[in-house]
Symmetry: C2
Subunit: 168 residues, 2 copies
DNA sequence: CAGAATACGTCAGCCTTGTTGACATTCCAA
DNA sequence: TTGGAATGTCAACAAGGCTGACGTATTCTG
């Protein structure tokens, strides 16, 4: 635990046994289940799935985003996204607006109802995240974020950074 | 960053804005994609999916485990697991042995071929994990693990701990 | 301006992986 | 010994990925 604070700069001299790495892998697997568990319960009641949650989350995060942008964030095909988007628009949770400057584009926004569901979902998910952060301590949180960022693919890290800036 | 090392014990006085928590959530989402990307590529070539990977991983980890035990680790229905297991047995990657003391149980083992695939998959996944750990430093790794453990459901943490001990 | 490229939507069909329901076998306890 | 619980298998269905093909509107470019 004190290893990383040494003059080596916390890098370079890590002894990483296969066993340690395997535990990291399993931790990731089990934790992700917890991570999605609470929203999944809420979604199931409303006959939505994780795909709907993801769309709602990122539309909330980047109001007015285009379909194409959402596509590259979510990393699915347009057919797949479209199915989800259609139900959200039909159910009045998402509004799709023809672009003013480029009329080929559709800009996506949450309606009031959509924003309400978003709040319900992210409240649940944040509660767990907050509890985990509290239990682990702020030093651990910094490390958590560092490792996760290092684990992303390049494209995803780019998206992640972009979202980061926008939120400020 | 130095906050958690204070006499407060790294807890209690965390300022956790919704914005910070949201970034944690997004980091988790993007990182998990990276986490599964490499094995997914290998699996796609061989016409297997993530479900096969999970089964192989945990059978490797606990040779001789029963279907029921695997079920509770994976958190799916037995019918769902069974389908995956059947293809693995048919393809000669997994051996299923009728229990000696309780003949209702089946004990699961990897065959040589199964172990070979397991190695290929976990090598790929470990490589990424190792790179992320190296990039983040050992202090970060400790924090990473701490937060993940705190994020798990109780049952999952129990499984996680059990696997931990067994590996030693 | 004509034609290529882009953005989006949609239809059809497939696969994986989750679900429930029905059922056979085996074990155990009343 | 018999009925209930536990274990595992088979069948059928749904969600949500995927590819491929196509239509339409719009924009960009030579």
């Amino acid at each position: 635990m004190a290893e990383g604070t040494s003059p080596h700069g916390g890098q370079g001299l890590l002894f990483l046994t296969d066993e340690q790495l395997r535990k990291g892998i399993e931790a990731m697997f089990f934790a992700y289940r917890g991570f999605t568990a609470d929203p999944d319960r809420i979604l199931a009641e409303k006959d939505y799935g994780r795909a709907h949650h993801r769309a709602i989350h990122f539309i909330h995060r980047s109001p007015g985003t285009t379909v194409n942008n959402l596509l590259s964030i979510l990393g699915v095909t347009k057919q797949s996204l479209n199915r989800v988007l259609r139900t959200l628009v039909d159910d009045g949770l998402v509004r799709s607006e023809v672009g003013r400057v480029d009329k080929r584009e559709r800009h996506l926004f949450l309606t009031e109802a959509g924003a309400a569901l978003e709040r319900e979902l992210s409240d649940a998910q944040r509660d767990r995240m907050r509890a985990a952060y509290r239990a682990a301590g702020s030093e651990a949180v910094a490390g958590f974020r560092k490792v996760l960022e290092a684990m992303m693919d390049e494209d995803m890290r780019r998206h992640f950074e972009t979202l980061k800036d926008r939120g400020r």
